[in-house]
């Protein structure tokens, strides 16, 4: 049993309100585990404690009680962040630096230097598809490009864990698709990913497990597939079925205890349709 990528045990965070006696409990006795190699979706409405949990895991905010560990190391220790790459929501980088300079800056913060750093930066730029924009200032990047440079920066030191906060928010469908593909690419290379997003459709496509937070508590948690499969329903998708075949199937259903809920032409997703049309 390998060390979990993230291990949160009985995490509680209480914020005092200045000048008032009551306090806000942002996270209440939260426990969850993210195994290495998983893509984990952390979901919840605004104010559910998602961001707070993420910040505690990253050591940006201290916990009131409980422990959080990254690959076995306490998150409040600076060293634990060797293994983590973080992409914040609406990332903002120094406008006057070029893409490559930005990556080199963050690389230096991780202890990288020299030709090794240069090569690494170039590799990452290629990976996220920004090699042509490497010498352009960040100030001129589009939203999608910013997210991609953000991903590259998060990966600069080859972390085993990525924490992504709304990685596709505000990005157009094509850019979104690219980012999703990148995330799946990272996953195939064994990187663990903790994803926070409001875009549930996208979460559904890429996450293995999800945890749903509500008012600071974990209300549902588990394999995505298990959570959203409707247990007692089955979906058949047929190709080239003749009307006679369909009639026979319906007759069979009517004889059994099952009920036909829906017969319709499956739809492609609007996303796929849009991409087909705009990228042809």
């Amino acid at each position: 049993m390998s060390t979990p990528a993230i291990s949160i045990r009985n995490l509680t965070k209480v914020f005092p309100i200045p000048f008032k006696r009551e306090r806000v409990t942002a996270v209440h006795d939260l426990s969850l585990t993210v195994e290495p190699g998983q893509v984990y979706g952390l979901l919840g409405p605004n104010g559910s404690g998602k961001s707070t949990t993420m910040k505690i895991v990253l050591g940006l905010v201290p916990a009131s009680a409980g422990t959080t560990e990254i690959f076995g190391r306490d998150s409040s220790l600076v060293e634990s962040r060797e293994e983590v790459g973080f992409l914040p929501e609406n990332p903002y980088f120094y406008k006057y630096l070029t893409g490559e300079e930005t990556l080199r800056f963050f690389g230096k913060l991780c202890g990288l230097s020299g030709p090794k750093l240069r090569d690494r930066a170039r590799d990452l730029l290629k990976l996220v598809g920004l090699e042509n924009a490497a010498d352009r200032r960040i100030g001129g990047y589009s939203k999608g490009m910013l997210q991609r440079i953000g991903l590259a920066q998060a990966l600069i030191q080859e972390p085993r864990l990525l924490v992504l906060d709304e990685p596709t928010a505000g990005v157009d469908p094509a850019g979104s698709r690219e980012i999703k593909d990148l995330i799946l690419e990272f996953k195939s290379r064994g990187i663990t990913i903790l994803l926070c997003s409001h875009l549930l459709g996208q979460v559904q496509e890429i996450c293995d497990r999800v945890g749903i937070l509500h008012k600071g508590r974990l209300v549902r948690e588990g394999k995505l597939h298990d959570l959203i499969s409707v247990e007692n329903q089955t979906q058949l998708i047929l190709e080239n079925a003749s009307p006679e075949l369909l009639a026979r199937i319906e007759a069979e259903i009517n004889c059994s205890g099952a009920r036909l809920l829906e017969k319709a032409k499956p739809q492609t997703t609007l996303e796929r349709y849009f991409l087909e049309v705009t990228q042809s």
């Binding site: 910040k55 050591g59 201290p62 060797e82 006057y96 202890g111 920066q153 030191q157 080859e158």
Partner: protein, 305 residues
Amino acid sequence: MSASNPATLPIHPPHKAFSPARILAIGANTLLELVRLKVFYFLLIFGLVLIGSSIFMINFSFQEQFQMLKDISLGAMSIFTWLLAVLATAMLLPKDIEDRTLYTILAKPVPRFEYLIGKLLGVLALVLISTLVMAGLFAVVLYARQEIVIAESLAQAGREATPEQVQEIVRGIKASTFTWSLVPAIIAVYLKAALCASLTLLISTFASSWIFTIVTSVAVYFIGNIQSIARDYWLAENGGTALTKVFLALVSLLFPDLQLFNLVDDIVAGNAIATGIFLKTAGLGCVYVVVYLFLAYFVFAKKEL
């Protein structure tokens, strides 16, 4: 890019508890950011002030001219370095927090104290460069004036002047322009600005807005300039009521004594400063910077971001 195979060594070197390279990266970045804000344009204003004032004072004797040129230059240097130090530092943390770049930086294995030191070093480097440029401009203008005055004086002395008299005239003029003690004066100006930068950083760690930081820093500056007066009253025999004594004690203990760094006025007046005294003063300035930085770290270390 390798997979997370435990057998493969990760690309990053093992984490160091203290890394000058990290501090340098943050410091250089801070300096660049401040430079891009075009703060150096104010140096143009400084240059104009210098040249303007030297032209304006043509009707005075050369001694008066040099006196006033030096006073105005060093006074302008004083105020520009102080303004630069306070304004640049006040914006450091709020800007990073607002832009969320602070999160991306601290999400890397960067200890918070290295972040603070790096930021402060960036500002100190900016102020240092500005000081050097201003000192250079000042030297150029002063030298130009000196040469003009020498030429005029020699022309006035005429052809009957003996070589000895000529030498005396030139020596007299040069003695009123450049003196070596201008160097410690300028260093003292820089140290005062550095102290104010460190203090502003401390205030910004718990301030709610950068306006609050600036206002507080300015207030502390003014109080710091009269701290020595308060201190003398407090420690004098016939002080005042107990309440006054307590008040004066608080002022004396909490605020820095900035008068110790106001050496410019007297050095320009011709006071030379002994190396021993200067080193002690400079050392005290450095202690202030370190103490304020340490306190800033103390507040920032557990700050909820």
